[in-house]
Subunit: 240 residues, 2 copies
């Protein structure tokens, strides 16, 4: 009898590993979708935009597969305590990853519009922001795969820097719009692109919070540094 | 023995009812948060803005309570099949409600900036959009409480109308920006307010999909009408 019990425990371990692998697979797909969306904007790469948009239904399908897998796992294994927390966490994480994929696809679509305009200014701030966001996304997916709270904390702390760049970008783009009405349409899309990248950063932070809570049993959310103040931004036109 | 079994089943029924009640409570809180945020923008009501922002931590706390309740339910009751689907669905729904609350708080914050500007144009389109979004939100929360697939379908179908108003608003706001640079800052915030309302509508649609799937076992997602084409919008300045 102990041998049978051990066998059941082992095969449950295998299934939890399979769940972790499915989530890091989904993470990898989303990571490459975000990378392509960023390349589409920064390097005006239309093919990368198409690939980022086409990745979206695959990510959605994988999310549904993971949900089915989780329901089966809950029904057949009736897991307890720590394992249960891990399983519930994986549903939250796949939800965040799915949203990140949506934002990446939206960035890619807008890049196609931007390519129709000649921008008289460099996308330096946006390029910097996109690198930080991609780095955080990569780190948090590693944190998921390894249950690494140090990496989760690192992502959680560095989200503030992303928010600061976003706030600076918001003001910069509004200023370009005021300088020349021909800048208004492309800058409106750039505003949304920057906002989408900022939201991707937020979802990476959500995932970091989920990883931390799952491993330690302690929430990280209460002390979260909130850096996006652009909602309050007032930029006055020189004409006023 | 059958009496004990019956007692267990009954008390599980009670707990599922309690879960449904918690979710509709959260839905009610979010609904009033959105209503206050809309009033803050349309009627320039600063008190309503404050209430919408202050509602956010309460919604987040309720989300965490529901998650704890679900984990306890899974651990103690080891539910099967249909019940399991309902429990997993409730986690998805609370995730969507939490995001709606975030968007409402962001709308409210931006309304405070708008009050610093005198807008030379009516907010008719936005007022119309905010009514439709609030109506969909109310209907979908009813659908959750009653497990009503007809209401879920109604919400799912009417999201397209919201997207259409959003697309028209996007172009209208860009045009105001082009007409006068003093419009640029308030219109940039209005762009984000409109986008947030459109996202609230999307999350209501997500909830409708979850309700439909939970009750029928069939997905609704594949045929979803996608109406937001603003990501592709090109509005040319008359100066070009």
């Amino acid at each position: 009898m102990p041998e049978i019990a051990e066998h059941i425990v082992k095969s449950f371990e295998l299934e939890l590993n399979r769940l972790r692998a499915l989530i890091t697979d989904m993470g990898g797909m989303v990571e490459s979708q975000v990378a392509q969306a960023c390349r589409a904007v920064i390097e005006k790469d239309g093919d990368a935009a198409t690939r980022a948009v086409e990745g979206d239904p695959k990510v959605d399908a994988l999310e549904r597969d993971i949900e089915q897998f989780v329901i089966r796992l809950l029904a057949l294994r009736q897991p307890m305590a720590q394992d249960l927390r891990l399983i519930v966490a994986s549903l939250k994480i796949t939800g965040d990853l799915e949203r990140i994929g949506d934002y990446a696809a939206n960035v890619a679509k807008r890049s196609l519009v931007l390519n129709q305009f000649s921008l008289p200014y460099a996308l330096t701030g946006l390029a910097h922001m996109s690198l930080l966001v991609q780095e955080n996304l990569k780190t948090v997916i590693d944190a998921v795969g390894e249950g690494d709270t140090a990496k989760a904390l690192q992502v959680w702390r560095s989200d503030e820097a992303i928010d600061e760049i976003y706030n600076a970008l918001f003001r910069e783009l509004i200023t370009y719009m005021m300088e020349d009405p021909r800048n208004i349409t492309p800058c409106a899309h750039l505003l949304f692109i920057a906002k989408n990248l900022e939201r991707i950063g937020d979802h990476a932070t959500n995932i970091a919070e989920t990883v931390y809570y799952t491993v330690t049993g302690q929430p990280l959310a209460d002390a979260r540094p909130k850096g996006d103040t652009s909602a309050y931004a007032v930029v006055r036109s020189p004409h006023e």
